[in-house]
């Protein structure tokens, strides 16, 4: 399902959201007007040390009270406000998008080596599973996800994304199948630093979900994409796999290819498949994953979904369609189609 586009400026120069809005709406044929969203990195420079928690509230009474309480228990809210929006005629406002800038109290999780992240992850899971009418959909530092049910341009105008400047943008035009078009089901999906946009359907979702839930994650959004964000967090952050190997675990080489590899490669790739067999994602997909350090795009092992990459100067683009990239940047230095299962990686320059 869906169309995706993403861009990174490797020099970390900011780009406002106006171009990606047009690019995404060029792919409206891939969507159904029931979900669109944007993730931008670098949008909250004034609060860059705080976790930006974006929450959909059904109302500002009970759910918000509960969320305020649990956040204050676990840390400090530096600032909070309703996310500024502009009413759009063809967008039904079913939730109130809110944002908190939050700092967890690390003394409350003494046994952890990454207490901040662990507290935030725990809070996201807890709020999403136990507080009715509240859904945290974005929880990274200096990162903002803006999404809703509607066409890409409507959602963009609702959140005025042209007012935000980011050095990474991920955008998604949704055609829902397994779950109806609700705000929480729109992409990008985010947890901490990780954001994901996804075109396709993961037929191994049941396997992946049971796997990831055994590590304490809770899937709450009724969609297969959420599991990708958690898998990235587990493999990339907790297990410390580099991006290439993380992608290798998700879309590993076939056994006959592994059998032909030189011994060291064969051992490595066999180890990945044996260890992370439950993280292997099956079915058609094209996915772009972002962290503050860069973006990674990849497709399934047999290339059932399209993915095009392009470069222009410092910028790397990854999208479902070349035309969408050209809508953002008509003059490209290079355009190519990545091979099945091979990651396209764009890192910020350090």
């Amino acid at each position: 399902m869906c169309g995706i586009i993403s861009v990174i400026d490797r020099s970390k120069s900011g780009m406002d959201g106006s171009r990606i809005k047009h690019a995404l709406s060029l792919m409206n044929e891939r969507g159904s007007g029931e979900g669109a969203g944007y993730a931008a990195y670098g949008v909250y420079p004034d609060f860059s040390e705080y976790y930006a928690l974006h929450v959909f509230f059904n109302n500002l009474v009970e759910p918000k009270g509960s969320v305020d309480e649990i956040l204050r228990t676990w840390g400090e809210i530096e600032f909070e406000e309703e996310i500024p929006t502009v009413e759009q005629p063809d967008l039904r406002r079913t939730h109130i998008p809110w944002r908190y800038f939050f700092k967890p109290d690390i003394s409350l999780m003494p046994g952890s080596t990454t207490p901040e992240e662990d507290i935030v992850t725990m809070l996201v899971m807890k709020i999403n599973t136990t507080i009715q009418g509240a859904l945290v959909f974005s929880s990274g530092k200096n990162i903002g996800v803006f999404k809703a049910s509607g066409w890409p341009e409507t959602v963009a105008d609702f959140y005025q994304i042209d007012q935000y400047e980011g050095y990474i943008w991920l955008a998604h035009n949704r055609y829902p199948t397994n779950t109806s078009g609700w705000w929480g089901g729109a992409h990008p999906f985010n947890l901490l630093d990780w954001s994901v946009v996804h075109n396709g359907e993961i037929t191994s979702y049941g396997t992946n979900r049971r796997y990831i839930e055994s590590y304490g994650y809770r899937c709450t959004m009724f969609t297969d994409t959420e599991v990708v964000a958690y898998l990235c967090d587990l493999l990339g952050r907790k297990h410390g796999l580099p991006e290439e190997l993380m992608v290798r675990a998700f879309a590993p080489p076939f056994w006959d290819e592994i059998d032909r590899m030189k011994e060291a490669d064969c051992t490595l790739n066999s180890a990945i498949r044996l260890t992370y067999g439950s993280a292997l994602m099956n079915g058609p997909f094209a996915i772009v994953v972002a962290t503050a350090d860069g973006i990674v795009g990849f497709t399934d092992r047999i290339k059932l979904r399209p993915l095009i990459a392009a470069e222009a100067g410092d910028r790397l683009y990854i999208s479902s369609e070349e035309a969408a990239i050209r809508r953002m940047e008509p003059n490209l230095d290079r355009v190519w189609m990545p091979k099945a299962g091979e990651p396209v990686i764009g890192r910020v320059r350090v």
Partner: protein
Amino acid sequence: MDKELVINANGIHYTPLNTMIRSAVASGVERIRIDNVLGQRFIADGLKGTVRIKVCGTPGGDLGMFMRGPVIEVFGNCDHAPGNTMDAGEIIIHGSSGDATAHSMRGGIVMVEGDIGYRGGIHMKEYGDHLPVLIVGGNACSFLGEYMAGGIILVLGSGKEHILPDRGIGTGIHGGEIFIRGTVPERALGVGARKAEATEEDRARIEPLIRRFAEVFSVDVEPLISVEYTRITPASGRPFANKYTWE
């Protein structure tokens, strides 16, 4: 001398664009140029006749689907499945194209100057005097000519680097032939396909296609003719005959 009709496709949805093309063809226009194409799908979908269309820009998927007769020349890259279920006519792409190029094509010719994506020429089939031809100047990806039931796929690999499809060439092929420049390892073949070095006779047969390609894209023809080609054909007309038993 007939005049060329110029359409500026900037911001035009494909349905009105196709309506313009159809009414132009109906009124006897023989040449059309479409400028500023960006992402419009289905250009010339189901179009009949002999009109020549130049597409300038980056068209969307299914260019020339179900088309019978017209000649389309694209100056840019194509998306998914140009020539899908096409019946007759020509699609000439001065660029590359996406996955499933020439899917289920039954007749005519698709020529791609650059590379094509995965599953090129999948389920191409011939019938009577319909013989579909797909010529790829650059490289093709895996699953080339899967389920192929007729026609010719020719991969020249004449770009900077000649990269063979990794796997699944001609899986389930039960008609037609695939030519790939150079040698192809056995493991890249799919179930039901077999390979052999192209014979003098085979080469004589594809030579006019190579010459046509070289002429259209103004490339040097000799290096493409004087090299070896691998010919991939069905191992049997019944690739899956041994898979089933009756109750």
